[in-house]
């Protein structure tokens, strides 16, 4: 097989049960080479179980996994050659320094990994603290050390589970820039995250999971197309008059929500609505984004609907359910 064109990850029909609980049910995941693929889902959706199966930590009850063209049955632990990353938070030996931890992992990796330790520490800005014992590291420092440990393997496929967790805003910015740079250089990235903005910024494709299954699998472009209008909270000087104006305004859906109005609209239409409110002598006292379109779609896809919903979500896309 020509591996340069084969998917970096090709998982088919993966199922995993933990006693009576079905953690992952017949899930498929295909990640093309050189892509940044996001995985989203609420807690308990099965993301972590799927990642642990991909990394060989948990054996699936059913299904097949091919990583960089290799299966575990054929290649054993070597299936993970060229693969790096971490599931949940990266963990290290607390009685050893950061540098010593990396040296041990580099020895396990073999090859030229040891020669990349300084470079990896520089990339995550940990070189000065590398001599300190990991037991004294903050969560963010351990997270950065985890990324350094992954980079030691010079990966072709990087699997990251909540990589920005515990990082300060500057660290999050740097981590995202690093992921973007690695992707630009051709590294395939599978990024599990709770942060829709992070996935939107970094990913080409996204898989959204719920209760062990896939409820969306496709490109970010497709997801954006299917996303509902953003929702805004609007406080005015005269809500009744504002609702009347909304009825005549194009692309505006407004309703009373407590002391304010909840307005669903594209930004262009919202601009026109705000101008129309001014012309109707209605003052806009506050206008806040309630939820971004992708967030709204994510919630619609992953949250349980009320048992007796008067209006079922009409715009819930299910591009792919595997």
């Amino acid at each position: 097989m020509d591996q340069s064109f084969s998917p970096a990850i090709e998982a088919l029909g993966l199922t995993k049960r933990f006693e009576e609980t079905v953690a992952v049910a017949g899930v498929g995941l295909v990640v093309g080479p050189g892509r940044v693929h996001g995985m989203l889902g609420p807690n308990g959706a099965g993301k972590t179980t799927l990642l642990t199966m991909l990394m060989g930590l948990v054996r699936p009850d059913a299904g097949t996994i091919r990583i960089l063209g290799r299966t575990r049955d054929e290649f054993g632990a070597c299936m993970l050659d060229g693969v790096a990353g971490f599931v949940e938070s990266p963990r290290f030996y607390p009685y050893l320094s950061g540098r010593r931890n990396l040296a041990l992992l580099a020895e396990l990796d073999g090859g030229a990994a040891a020669s990349r330790i300084d470079e990896a520490l520089d990339l995550v800005d940990l070189r000065e603290q590398a001599g300190a014992k990991v037991g004294g590291y903050s969560v963010g420092m351990r997270q950065r050390l985890g990324i350094a440990a992954a980079l030691l393997r010079d990966p072709r496929l990087l699997i990251l589970d909540e990589p920005a967790s515990g990082l300060d805003p500057a660290g999050m910015r740097d981590m995202r820039a690093l992921v973007a740079r690695l992707a630009h250089d051709g590294t395939t990235v599978l990024l599990s995250s709770h942060d829709m903005a992070e996935v939107e910024e970094l990913c080409d494709n996204v898989t959204i999971m719920r209760r062990g299954g896939v409820v969306f699998d496709g490109s970010m472009g497709t997801l954006r197309q299917r996303a509902p209008d953003p929702a805004f909270r609007l406080a005015t000087s005269d809500d009744e008059r504002a609702l009347e104006v909304a009825r005549d305004a194009p692309g505006i859906a407004a309703a009373v929500a407590g002391d304010e109005l909840l307005v669903h609209a594209q930004r262009d239409n919202l601009d026109g609505y705000v101008i129309a409110l001014g012309r109707a002598d209605v003052a806009v006292r506050r206008l806040d984004l309630e939820s971004s379109p992708l967030e709204a779609l994510f919630f619609a896809l992953t949250e349980d609907e009320p048992e007796e919903s008067a209006e079922p979500a009409a715009s819930v896309p299910q591009e792919a359910t595997r």
Binding site: R17, F18, E19, T49, T52, M55, G56, L57, V58, R59, D61, R72, D73, E74, F75, G76, A77, C78, L80, D81, V83, A84, G85, F86, V87, E88, S89, P90, R91, F92, Y93, P94, Y95, L96, R100, L104, L105, E107, L108, D109, G110, A149, R153
Partner: protein, 285 residues
């Protein structure tokens, strides 16, 4: 957490992987405070023991060769060996063997090391070898230290053997070292038991304490008139198999029996621990 049947591992895992893991494990062990402390205790305890004996006239007469501790330095390592075989050697070996797998659960580092292109069998082999290396090294250290303590603080006088014959210093040295060598099989059997507990319990307290408790329980069982057949099958019995070296003529039956019994315990525990680790789903740690 569940486990499923593990298929045979392919032969494509990185060559020399067990050796690499072994080196990494040794590097980790020498940096652990408990290992450093154990080495210091093994080195100094015999000297402290002899010093304590030298300031009192009483002797540990209920222990084999105890009555000769003021008369021949060669009695010292044999008295230490008698004590050590009861609980100290199982405790000493389980400090590492009982913790070497469960520490990965404690630190949460299974996911770190199992995603580095090394197979579980390689990880297991490297860790098990490191634990055995530690056990053998500590046994050798305490043997040499107790021999040195006896010779330096008491002297190189001849020793009276168990049949009443006088054993010359050169012969004594060889017999003492041989006696200590005979406890290596049961030490390794207890190491394997510690490994099994460490894998199975995923808990260091159980892994370290288990072999000590079991060792003491087996000693107790052998003292309460257990049938000879049962006594023969206890790994702790092998700790006393060296007695035959100091009789005239010497007898090696218990030594051979101890080696066989220890080997059986060793194989059963190692195979069991390996199977458990290979089948395990790593969802935590």
């Amino acid at each position: 957490m569940t486990a499923v049947a593990a298929p045979p591992e392919p032969r494509t895992a990185a060559r020399g992987g067990s050796w690499v893991v072994y080196r990494c494990e040794l590097a980790k062990l020498v940096r652990q405070l408990k290992v450093q402390a154990a080495a210091v205790v093994c080195l100094l305890a015999p000297f402290l023991f002899v010093s304590a004996l030298n300031v009192q006239s009483n002797t540990p007469q209920d222990t084999l060769f105890g009555r000769w501790v003021h008369d021949s330095g060669f009695a010292i390592p044999l008295v230490v060996l008698g004590f050590a075989g009861q609980w100290a050697l199982p405790a000493l070996t389980s400090v590492v063997a009982g913790d070497i797998f469960s520490c990965e659960d404690r630190y949460g580092t299974w996911k770190t090391i199992l995603t580095r292109s090394r197979s579980r069998s390689q990880i297991f082999t490297g860790k098990a070898l490191a634990a055995m290396t530690y056990a053998v090294a500590m046994t050798v250290l305490v043997a040499l230290s107790s021999l040195a303590a006896g010779v330096l603080l008491v002297g190189r006088q001849p020793l009276i053997g168990l049949s009443g014959t006088l054993l010359q210093p050169g012969h004594c040295t060889a017999l003492v070292l041989t006696a200590w060598a005979t406890v290596l099989p049961p030490v390794l059997a207890f190491t394997a038991f510690g490994l099994l507990l460490s894998v199975a319990s995923r808990n260091s307290a159980a892994g370290i304490g288990g072999p000590v408790v079991v060792g003491l329980a087996l000693q107790l069982a052998s003292l309460v008139n257990a049938p000879e057949a049962v006594r023969m099958l206890l790994p702790t019995t092998a700790f006393g198999a060296w007695h035959g070296l100091f009789t005239e003529p010497s007898f090696a039956g218990p030594l051979a029996q101890g080696v066989v019994v220890s080997a059986v315990y060793f194989v059963v525990c190692v195979v069991g621990a390996h199977a458990l680790l290979r089948r395990r789903d790593i969802t935590e740690g």
